[in-house]
């Protein structure tokens, strides 16, 4: 299939789905809107899965669909362009799937991948802990082996979708005497069990995207450990590396839509006539162009997957850019942006302004990315 045919197919499919049964889902679940329309979006995952749009480039035996790197990029572009709903399956498809493909046993792949490609199973990520933040090696959640099971005690935080998820991939300390990177293991834990409590975290937006997850005697099967005992660090770092570049270009389409909306608003309300605001809007446009060219260049050289280093540069760029655009969106509105709905309902500009503060913190803060770039790209001493 040519790239043009592929684009026509996904575009056509999205158009049909989103003007038909899922029309209400358009625009839901984006950044800062994770709390929206859960039921509908869960159904959307299954709909995507049934149509074969999950697991592009994965082996067919697990429900994947052959697709070139260019086609994967096209898929993400069209997905963003159509305003399709934020993916509940993001963690499943972008993080866990590639990890299992790389580190999982044949049994684990057969057991878990079809649930991902069908859109049936929703996964959440159990990495961050209170008090550890960006320092993943500071994990203190313990998993004690008892026969064929691990018994897990501890607390994770910043776990998005935990209240909806069927499973969680959890980084635990299996060797109680270990410190830092050693002695960690990577466990797949079913969420529906008595030893797990999920508590939503209310964010500064007043809504909840993230959760705290408490493990108090939760159980995971030993056969659901990915990688060897004590090698969890390696597996987890592999997963981080799998935040793949192909979604980057799709993300940029979303950024462009947002920038266009802010610029259009500035023309509409006269803010464009204000040189200082216009200058910031042009700066945002230029910044996005730079990111676009950077992404194309990285993908061309990396063959579709970003290395950790390239991912660090890309993360630092887009997080900082999007945060600036969020503030600009409100400044373009002017003082009128200070009013909200009666229950603190936020409009797009307000949501963008507030939620984008998280961009530079989650998924490795700007500070962590700078450390990585300085030490690993530039070779500056620790």
């Amino acid at each position: 299939m040519s790239d043009e045919q592929f684009r026509a197919e996904i575009r056509g499919w999205l158009h049909e789905a989103l003007t038909g049964p899922f029309a209400e889902a358009v625009g839901t679940g984006g950044e800062g809107r994770e709390h929206e329309a859960h039921e509908l979006r869960r159904e959307w995952e299954r709909h995507l899965g049934r149509a074969g749009w999950i697991g592009l480039g994965w082996p067919s035996e697990y429900g994947g669909r052959p697709a070139t790197m260019a086609q994967q990029v096209i898929y993400h572009e069209e997905y963003a362009r159509a305003g399709a709903p934020g993916r509940l399956g993001h963690m499943s498809e972008q993080l866990l799937g590639p990890t299992l493909l790389a580190f999982g046993t044949p049994e684990q792949k057969a057991r878990f991948l079809p649930g991902i490609t069908s859109g049936e199973d929703i996964w959440c990520q159990g990495y961050s802990e209170p008090g550890a933040g960006s320092d993943l090696a500071g994990v203190r959640t313990r998993a004690e082996r008892r026969g064929d099971s691990y018994v897990i005690t501890g607390q994770k935080v910043w776990t998005s979708l935990a209240h909806l998820a069927d499973w969680c991939f959890v980084l635990c300390r299996t060797d109680p005497d270990s410190t830092r990177h050693a002695g960690l293991s990577y466990l797949l834990v079913p969420m529906d069990q008595p030893g797990i409590t999920v508590r939503p975290i209310t964010q500064l937006t007043g809504t909840s995207e993230f959760n705290e997850v408490f493990f108090d005697g939760a159980v995971a099967a030993v056969e659901h450990r990915v990688g060897a005992e004590g090698e969890g660090w390696k597996v987890a770092m592999g997963t981080l590396g799998f935040e793949r570049g192909v979604s980057t270009l799709g993300q940029q389409i979303g950024f462009r839509r947002r920038l266009d909306a802010v610029i259009a608003r500035a023309h509409e309300n006269g803010a464009w006539q204000e040189p200082a605001l216009r200058d910031r809007l042009v700066e945002a446009y230029i910044g996005l162009e730079v990111m676009r060219h950077s992404a194309v260049r990285l993908l061309a050289s990396a063959g579709g997957g970003l290395s950790g280093l390239e991912a660090s540069i890309s993360k630092l760029q887009w997080a900082t850019w999007n945060r600036s655009l969020g503030e600009l969106a409100v400044d373009v509105e002017g003082a009128g942006a200070l009013l909200t709905g009666p229950e603190y309902e936020l409009d797009d500009a307000q949501t963008h302004f507030l939620f984008s503060r998280a961009n530079t913190i989650y998924g490795g803060s700007n500070e962590i990315q700078r450390n990585i770039i300085a030490e690993r790209l530039l070779g500056l001493p620790r």
Binding site: L204, A335, G336, L339, T340, I361, E367
Partner: protein, 381 residues
């Protein structure tokens, strides 16, 4: 070109030492009350509910500490203190992001003082009846551009009736009197006092992005009013300058409070086995914030001196301080969220209160770009 402001400046106006001591006492007693009744935990509680402010605190500060009479001349029934007494209280309220009409009351009183004899009846009434105040300048489309004021005042002499709609009024949800800018039949801009309980007045209070500062729309339909300023056409500008002064003083104080809480966090929070405040990149960023806060503090102090001495540079100094202090608060608050990491993104934490307050302080009473252009014009650049 900038010769006027390049002229030799006196070394900072220092208060007489008795006055300085009195001022310190007032600040201390206000701080004592606020630390007990109005810390950020309390602000957190108030801002999500109704009425959005604390009537008991208000009562305590007005009835017991006499805040409304603080800088009202003695012959009008007040305590007769100087400007710095009121601005010190505004700072302490600002540092704690206290919601309500306390700061707006003091601000309107300072403005009324500056308006001269024509405002004396109002000041006397404020003290006698313990009335709280707010100031209403903005209108839809026009924002805070005084030239575009469309609210009309009809009548003559003592009795006036106002018609128009004022937007984005801070403190109106808790105030009794609002100072309103309006234009008379001859097109002259003036400042009028309107009783919010009067006929023809409708106040609609909104929830706001900055949850610590609710904003109201005030609809006036032939509402009874008294004129407060002298007929020299300068009154509206006096009022605007004072509103900007309030935002500047609040922001300078809030920026410092926000930096303090961030620095304290960095000292105790550990990562990678050491306090994160020992990481040089974070230290240098905090140092830059400290320099910015010191600069904001200095422009705010200078503005207090200007208001105190009645210097002719009031509009310039108020605009400049508003710009510098609110931008500083935004810089500090944004860094506060980032430096706190995930916890700074939670609703429960205080960082976002400063962040949201910063945006409202930047956008109220003229956007940064507008105010910057004004500063340039007023400086004769």
């Amino acid at each position: 070109m900038t010769e006027a402001s390049a002229a030799p400046q006196p070394v900072a106006e220092t208060l007489r030492s008795e006055a300085a001591e009195e001022l310190a006492q007032i600040r201390a007693s206000v701080v004592e009350v606020l630390d007990e009744q109005a810390d950020l935990r309390r602000t957190h509680e108030l801002m999500v509910g109704a009425p959005g402010h604390d009537p008991q605190l208000h009562e305590l500060l007005t009835a017991e500490l006499g805040l409304l009479g603080l800088v009202v001349p003695e012959h009008l029934g007040g305590l007769g203190l100087d400007v710095p007494a009121a601005t010190a209280v505004i700072e302490e309220l600002g540092a704690r992001l206290v919601p309500g009409a306390l700061a707006t009351s003091l601000t309107a009183i300072l403005a009324a003082r500056a308006l001269g004899p024509s405002a004396e009846p109002l000041l006397a009434r404020v003290v006698a009846e313990q009335l709280t105040l707010a100031s209403a300048l903005a209108e839809d489309g026009a924002g805070w551009d005084l030239e575009q004021t469309a609210t009309r005042a009809t009548g003559t002499g003592a009795e006036w009736a106002l018609t128009g709609t004022k937007t984005l009024v801070a403190g109106a949800e808790a105030a009794r009197i609002v100072l309103v800018t309006a234009r008379d039949g001859g097109g002259e801009l003036g400042v009028y006092a309107v009783d919010l309980a009067a006929d023809g007045v409708d106040v609609q209070t909104h929830m706001t992005l900055d949850q610590t500062r609710r904003l109201s729309t005030v609809h006036l339909r032939e509402a009874a009013a008294t004129r407060v300023d002298a007929p020299d056409g300068e009154g509206a500008r006096v009022l605007l300058d004072h509103v900007r002064a309030m935002l500047a003083l609040e922001s300078a104080a809030a920026a410092r409070a926000c930096l303090d809480l961030t620095v304290e966090y960095l000292k105790v929070r550990e990562q990678f086995g050491r306090p994160i405040g020992s990481f040089q990149a974070l230290k240098h960023r905090c140092a830059d914030l400290a320099v910015a806060v010191a600069g904001a503090r200095a422009t705010a102090d200078h503005l207090v001196t200007t208001l105190h001495t009645g210097a002719a540079t009031r509009s310039h100094d108020a605009a400049l301080a508003k710009l510098v202090c609110t931008d500083t608060l935004m810089t500090v608050a944004a860094e506060a969220i980032q430096l706190h990491g995930g916890i700074g993104f939670t609703f429960e934490h205080d960082a976002h209160l400063f962040f949201k307050r910063a945006k409202s302080a930047q956008l109220l009473a003229g956007s940064p770009a507008t105010v910057r252009a004004e500063v340039a014009a007023l400086a004769g650049l």
